[in-house]
Symmetry: C2
Subunit: 141 residues, 2 copies
DNA sequence: TTTGTATTTAACCTTTAAGTTAAATACTCC
DNA sequence: GGAGTATTTAACTTAAAGGTTAAATACAAA
């Protein structure tokens, strides 16, 4: 596995057990035993998964008596969001020659629209920031 | 490595060579030899990386004489964007104890607000869909 | 200080990732 | 069909991921 920060982040996420653990932590702190319960694997195996997440700084850990509670620490997920965002146009548009041309045109339109929508977009941001618990479907997969 | 679709996607991305190849393909189709040029590794090594990307459906390949041109096929990147989006609030808020308390309060407020803001939220979605090209910086890393 | 509970570490196994070099394939063109 | 170019496959190596069980560690409480 590559050792650069971003590769470490993605490699940590490239495992369904670890993603399930992150999803569980959305509901709040949990102990190793609690986190392990849904899985069929041994406790040491889960402990290793937690170490991978911890090294990727996707979780942080506390200490209370013999418990080492985990909580989500999603900083690196922002890197993922920022990185993938750069490719948005590749999944939002089809990519043959005609579309290349249409894409150029659209770009101009959007730049014009941006000015008009600034006010609405600002309001959007505030609402997003408030509605932190509105998510019906919690993170999954 | 896990074999579920999403894990395969993330594992393919968890390598700087493969991300560099994707970034290169933003500039358009390229042959294996062209893609290999920037790297110090052998051609078969690059060929293997391409196979990983292909299996993850992050690239598609053509055939012209002895060339097997690659082009980006970013469909799975949308899955990444959608998945990570679920965690946005975790990097947009700080997460110490006080915030835990404030978040609880906000949750109540938001539930009330949701009714009133339904109209505005719908409009928000439309605007997001329009502003796909507002991205200044091209892909990197 | 012993006991009980939570968690990690050690030692090991099996599979796979990622690279190598050398040989095979797939084409084009003469 | 032989030569030249692009790419893949084969065979091999090394290192690491992800799991196991058994033992060690850390702490609370009796």
């Amino acid at each position: 596995m590559s050792t650069d920060r971003f590769s470490v982040t993605l490699a940590a996420l490239a495992d369904p057990t670890r993603r399930a653990i992150l999803a569980r932590l959305v509901g709040g702190e949990a102990s190793v035993t609690e986190l392990a319960r849904p899985f069929e694997m041994s406790l040491p195996a889960v402990s290793k998964h937690l170490k991978v997440l911890e090294r990727a700084k996707l979780i942080a850990r506390g200490r209370t008596a013999q418990w080492r509670p985990c909580r989500i620490a999603a900083g690196p997920l922002k890197d993922v969001a920022d990185w993938v965002e750069q490719y948005r146009r590749f999944w939002e548009e089809s990519f043959d020659r005609l579309d290349d041309y249409l894409r150029e045109l659209k770009t101009l339109e959007v730049k014009t629209l941006e000015v008009k929508t600034r006010e609405v977009k600002t309001r959007k941001v505030k609402i997003s920031a408030l509605s932190t618990k509105e998510n019906k479907h919690g993170p999954q997969s």
